[in-house]
């Protein structure tokens, strides 16, 4: 009987320990879920920010970024969804949508670089054509002005020489 009571006591202790350790395990998993979700959201946020900065840089160089902005908007909407789910303690959902956000802007930085390079090349070409065209036009204007002036001066002198002095009676 004494042995049975002892066994029961041990069983109770084991059950209590198990129950606590289970709670602890669940708690640890919950914390991991939350921190993982936060990490994924921050990763997605950083990816979106750097893609946005790259798009701004391309835009400054004259690239047409409307297509890139549409992709960024899609990524932004997924990220907003991830943040809302995170605030509502839906960490699985948060991780899922943060992943979708990163996926939707994958390759965007490379695409941006290509557009930027294209825009810079177009700008250089435009610059060369404009400066050359303007330079030629300025030379034409200067030479034309000098020519017109010389012609005008010759006509002016001819006209002056053709004039007859007017005699005024005193």
């Amino acid at each position: 009987m004494k042995g049975f009571a002892h066994g029961l006591r041990i069983l109770t202790v084991v059950l209590v320990v198990l129950a606590f350790s289970k709670l602890a395990i669940i708690d640890v998993f919950a914390v991991v879920g939350e921190s993982e979700a936060e990490t994924e959201i921050q990763k997605a946020e950083a990816a979106l920010s750097s893609a946005y900065v790259a798009v701004l840089e391309a835009e400054k160089n004259g690239a047409d970024v409307s297509g890139l902005l549409a992709k960024l908007s899609s990524g932004g909407n997924f990220l907003a969804e991830a943040r809302m789910r995170y605030r509502n303690d839906d960490f699985d959902g948060a991780v899922y949508y943060a992943g979708l956000s990163v996926e939707s802007i994958e390759g965007l930085v490379g695409e941006t670089e290509q557009l930027k390079a294209l825009a810079i090349a177009e700008h250089k070409e435009g610059f060369f054509l404009t400066v050359t065209g303007s330079g030629v036009a300025v030379i034409v204007v200067v030479l034309g002005s000098i020519g017109a002036w010389l012609l005008f001066k010759r006509r002016y002198f001819e006209k002056v020489l053709e004039m007859k002095p007017e005699v005024v009676e005193g």
Binding site: L69, S73, M84, S134, G135, V138, W149, F152
Partner: protein
Amino acid sequence: MNLDEYRTVFVASGLILGLIVAAPALSFYLPFSGGSERFSEFWLLGPGHMAEDYPFDVSADEGYLVYVGVGNHMGSSVQYSVRVKFRNQSELLPNATAGTPSPLPLLYEYRVFLEDGKTWEAPLTFAFSGVSFVENRSLVENLVINDYVFTVDKLALWDGENNGFYYQLFVELWIYEVASDRFEYHNRFVGIWLNMTGV
């Protein structure tokens, strides 16, 4: 006119013409600033896309619709965060003088990337659930925004002057600042008053 005066006219005309034809090339070296003011538009429209027929008398389990919109005139593409918040009469709105947002937590968020000169508009549907009235107080437990349920547990006291239990649904505009690498309040908000009338 004598010859010297004619020469002055020729030189002046030549210079003006020269400047005109050189202008395209000069524009690469002398950036002409537009000088126009940079700003963002922000609006809230009723269900018919007009500034009328806004929801006012509201009750539980009924759906309501408004449209929120942004216009970018900031001179380049911008990333906006449009943040929906909900308050009762005693809670703080954004402070326009200090340029600070409302301290209330954001519920729903739209992320918008907008090119300069472009506008964006999206529907904002909302409904209430868990509404109860006790004496001179009303309680809204849940606010549903675009099918997303938010627990708000918001109390409103009876407003004897305006005869109603008043809440405000408002939307703040935030802008992403590249230099600080974060969103900052853009000192713009729009909102509508709602009178909770029934369960």
